[in-house]
Amino acid sequence: MTPGAPPTAGSDSPVPPGAQPERTALAWRRTALAVAAGSLVAARVLEPWAGPPVWLLALAGLAAAVGVAWSGARRARVWALAVDDTHPDRGEPGAPTPGGAPLAVTAAVVGVLGAAALVVVLAHPSR
């Protein structure tokens, strides 16, 4: 890589083509970790007020985190086939890229979590 030259996305990019799907898979994993961590923090912080049932919600959050990680891993395989010229299972040029359904689901779930958080914040007694 030329010192000081910014990475390009063209076909002569110094960044190996397989790196981009992997970076995206890692981003999904980071998101899964954020969901897991957020669930645990929320449960821990809300337990004095709501009692032990919060840990059921934390469990649901952890399940959601697993779902996010799994969805990301599955997408990474589809992306790799669509994008990576050096992948051994490379299909025909123009192999379809994954659609946006898991993204819509993720955004919707976070939106619902946000609504729940608003209820919690407004319902929590202030001292």
């Binding site: 996305a9 990019s13 083509p17 981009q20 799907p21 970076r23 995206t24 981003a27 999904w28 980071r30 998101t31 954020a34 969901v35 961590a37 957020g38 923090v41 929320a42 912080v45 809300l46 004095p48 007020w49 997408r75 992306w79 669509a82 994008v83 025909e92 123009g94 379809p96 890229t97 994954p98 659609g99 946006g100 359904a101 993204l103 819509a104 993720t106 955004a107 919707a108 976070v110 939106g111 979590l113 946000g114 609504a115 958080a117 608003l118 919690v120 914040v121 407004l122 929590h124 202030s126 001292r127």
Partner: protein
């Protein structure tokens, strides 16, 4: 490539409003778009966790200011996934149609909102 390859199956990717338009962009740009979406999702989670923690923890902050800051953070955390999805669809469409990419609408308000929430907490700490 054989001359009698099987025809490509019809495109059924969701949402049609994005994939029915334009043509396949460089996959690396779409991947970058997807990572941006996920970054907004993580931002939303952090805002929600921050808002909930602010209100649920016994912090020595004036209660009304603390509640205002918490609500502000949670509201930003509710709008962030809207930005995540809206930004992703608009950007993916622009990539497919080789148009300039849209700017993220929520960036400015988010920065202002977080600063205001921080200010409210700071004042609440001093006033308490």
């Amino acid at each position: 490539m054989s001359a009698d390859r099987t025809p490509t199956p019809p495109d059924r990717r969701f949402p049609r409003a994005v994939f029915a338009r334009g043509s396949e962009p460089d996959g690396r740009f779409s991947l970058a778009n997807e990572r941006t979406f996920l970054a907004w999702v993580r931002t939303a989670l952090a805002l929600l966790a921050g808002g909930v923690a602010l209100e649920a923890l016994d912090l020595p902050v004036e209660p009304h200011l603390r509640l205002a800051a918490a609500v502000l953070l949670v509201v930003l955390g509710i709008v962030a996934p809207v930005q995540a999805w809206s930004g992703w669809t608009r950007t993916e469409r622009a990539l497919r149609e080789r148009r300039p990419l849209p700017a993220p609408v929520l960036s400015g308000p988010l920065a202002v909102g977080v600063a205001v929430a921080g200010l409210l907490v700071l004042i609440g700490l001093l006033v308490r």
